[in-house]
Amino acid sequence: MLIYILRRLTSALPTLFVVVTLSFFLIRLAPGGPFDLEQPLEAKVMENLNRIYKLDRPLTEQYWLYLSHLATGDFGPSFYARDFTVAELLARGLPVSITIGGLALLLALAIGIVLGTVAAFRQNQPADYSVMVFATFGITIPTFVVAPVLQIVFGLMLAWLPVGGWNNGHVRNLILPVITLALPQVAVVARMIRASMIEALRSNHIRTLRSQGLPRSTIAIHALRGAMLPVVSYMGPAAAALLTGSVVIETIFGLPGVGRYFVEGALNRDYTLVMGTVVMVAVFVLVFNLIVDILYALLDPRVRYDT
């Protein structure tokens, strides 16, 4: 098992490398630099800034510098928020995004699995239809519609919950963002579980269990274990996306997470910040893909013996 993890990690490094390289050059190809967006600065000041931030060096040299810093974990200073290094910015924002994203993930799995199972067992009956309609709603209504509506209803009209803000992670501030973020995922998980449960319930090995007179609860557990496999595969990239922050949620609810860094960084030509976020996301994706593969192998003994 250990060898396998190491092998996967080493094969993930080239991908990471390519992602970093592509991103590095892409963002620098965009017109405008990090210091162009405010009022135009004096030429001398510009020169100095460029020298300090090493932007006057040839591109390839900047690239090697960046890589060598990266290897030691130094993401460099933020070009835009010049009092902070990128690492500091990430460190401040990541816990927020992870909390919200992680809670949303757990919520999505818990509710999604229950709903999907119920729908599968009561196929084509009212319970099934309601779950499917709810799931379709969840997928089609954009989060930036749900969020303001929830804010109005629960934040202003009923005044049960705060409209936004992080407030150091107080539970009351978490409820609305987590629910909004989880909603589409609940829908997706419910649909997936329903489809794969229905498939599993038709399978030959479930038929064998039924022929043995095993009760419905046992059959449900067997079917669920098989049905989990596609969900596990899906949750890999989905989890990575959830945990690295949602731009919409963080903007609407005013949460200081890392999701906004992307957009702000790109718009402000904050090269290092963007690179830092890119690397962070890529790492998350690769790590979660690895976790998913391991989970899959744990769930399905057949996978352990052949690829």
Partner: protein, 530 residues
């Protein structure tokens, strides 16, 4: 005769489909007595499987049952789930046709057997495990202690079926229902499994209901027989009586459907069509999940053969023997080493483009009539696709004319040539596949299990059709099959393969009447049922 323990009275089964109701069983009456070995025979679509599925409450969601099925007086139709689960797995148990998919792939064998034990017998975990071990020994699984902790994918088909039997017997049922339990297994394994079932039946005194289409099995084991056709029972009674003097014309037809006839050897000065020397096909296995070493499998391990004009070589063997792979290698559909010449032309060094014109002379018919026809093309287009490649000068009308002609030769109505494959029966599809091969006027045809997926009566017709083509056009055949009866009827020469190698080869009569090698003997003995 004592009271029946399971009775069907006027049972009708139908299915709701998009095209209306489909009737599977129309008013059947069946009695199973204690300790009896009952066989329900019929061809595909006869309703035999659905009947027993209904008795176990396992019909598909869109199925409806009417009539009465009673187990010792208790009505099964409409029985609530809780009560039904008391009967299933305990008094009535079942094993199925597809051993490869009937076990849960995620759970160990031991825990699967224990599950049914603990459900019905309130055993503790350790007691259940001990009993599971006993059961594995009962069904003669090798290394039973290790197998308790194995997963299904580590077992072969035959072993999985033994496990299924073990689970079915776990709670001492009154009746064991076996739905085509050996159809998917090799013939030698089949013999072992059936012998096991018969022995256990004697030992434990239970009744067995065997669903099958294979009359040889019925003759050997059954005491009572029901013959079904399109949902109705056409004849039933004591097995010996029926086999001696079948009354219903359908039963008579079934019994007469053994392939017959023999094939004369080719002329002594017939030219050599295919010469294969030391053919080897090796497949590399992928690397293991955790980086284990890659291993290779020798699918074909040094096989040589010579095919003359007008000859039919029958290649027999069980699954994994390499016979199909050999056929593919000769067709250059699988990568091979060694030497293969076709009409004095060496095949292996040829490029794909160089090979193309030769393909006209060397065609193939596959086993699976469902999978060998492209589902979204009309059968007319399917048959004439070869003409697009080899006679590109033909216009659409001419191709259509050739298609109609080909249909006639395989005895299908030419007016059907704009239909799609799924609108035809299995036997008809196989005729289409044959037409596709014959339209190019090949010299050699490789037939890879062409009759194995068909009912016996249909098989007979296909065999006659193929023989007709051979006589008319002087074709040479490589006939690959595991069905010894059909091979004997078709071939003048036979090669027996095992594990990629030829263990015995010679004239058909010699092989069948005086086999030399042990394996050949086992094979022939296993196929002779009764």
């Amino acid at each position: 005769m004592s009271e029946p323990i399971l009775s069907f009275r006027d049972v009708a089964i139908r299915f709701r489909t998009n095209d209306g109701y489909v009737e599977a069983v129309k008013g059947s009456t069946i009695d199973i007595h204690p300790g009896e070995f009952v066989a329900i025979v019929g061809e595909s679509g006869s309703g035999k499987s659905q009947s027993v599925m209904a008795a176990m409450g396992l019909l598909a969601q869109n199925g409806e049952v009417t009539g009465s099925i009673r187990y010792r007086g208790t009505e099964i139709i409409g029985l609530p789930a809780g009560d039904l689960n008391e009967l299933r797995g305990r008094k009535l148990s079942m094993i199925f046709q597809e051993p490869m998919t009937s076990l849960d792939p995620l759970y160990k064998i031991g825990s699967q057997i224990s599950a049914t034990l603990r459900q019905h017998q309130r055993l503790s975990k350790d007691q259940a495990r001990a009993r599971a071990l006993e059961l594995l020994k009962l069904v003669r699984i090798l290394q039973p202690e290790q197998r308790l902790d194995s997963y299904p994918h580590e077992l072969s088909g035959g072993q999985r079926q033994r496990v299924m039997i073990a689970m079915a017997l776990a709670n001492d049922p009154d009746i064991l229902i076996a739905d085509e339990p050996t159809t998917a297994l090799d013939v030698t394994i089949e013999a072992e499994i059936l012998a096991l079932i018969a022995e256990l039946q004697q030992r434990l005194g239970m009744a067995v209901v065997l669903i099958t289409h294979d009359l040889g099995i019925v003759r050997k084991y059954a005491t009572s027989v029901y013959v079904m056709r399109t949902g109705e029972i056409v004849e039933h009674g004591d097995a010996k009586a029926i086999f001696a003097a079948p009354k219903h014309p359908y039963t008579q037809m079934l019994l007469a459907a053994e392939p017959e006839g023999r094939k004369a050897p080719p002329l002594p000065n017939a030219p050599i069509m295919i010469e294969a020397k030391d053919v080897r096909v090796t497949y590399r296995m992928k690397r293991g999940f955790f980086g284990r070493d890659s291993s290779s499998i020798k699918a074909v391990d040094g096989v040589s053969l010579t095919l003359k004009r007008g000859q039919t070589i029958g290649i027999v063997g069980e699954s994994g023997s390499g016979k199909s792979t050999l056929g593919k290698a000769i067709l250059k559909l699988a990568p091979a080493a060694g030497q293969i010449t076709f009409e004095d032309r060496a095949l292996l060094p040829l490029s794909r483009d160089e090979m193309r014109p030769l393909r006209k002379q060397m065609q193939v018919v596959f086993q699976d009539p469902f999978g060998s026809l492209s589902p979204r093309m009309t059968v007319g287009d399917i048959i004439t696709e070869g003409l697009l490649v080899h006679e590109p000068g033909l216009g659409r009308r001419e191709r259509d004319a050739r298609a109609a002609q080909a249909f006639g030769e395989v005895q299908l109505d030419a007016a059907m040539r704009n239909r799609y494959p799924h609108e035809f029966s299995g036997g008809q599809r196989q005729r289409i596949a044959i037409a596709r091969a014959m339209i190019l006027k090949p010299h050699v045809v490789i037939l890879d299990e062409p009759t194995s997926a068909l009912d016996r009566t249909v098989q007979k017709a296909i065999v006659l059709l193929l023989k007709g083509f051979q006589d008319r056009y002087g074709l040479s055949y490589l006939f690959i099959s595991h069905d010894l009866a059909v091979v004997r009827a078709m071939s003048d020469t036979v090669m027996v393969m095992k594990d990629g190698q030829v263990v015995e080869a010679g004239p058909a009569d010699t092989i069948f009447d005086a086999p030399q090698h042990d394996y050949t003997r086992t094979l022939i003995a296993a196929s002779r049922k009764g």
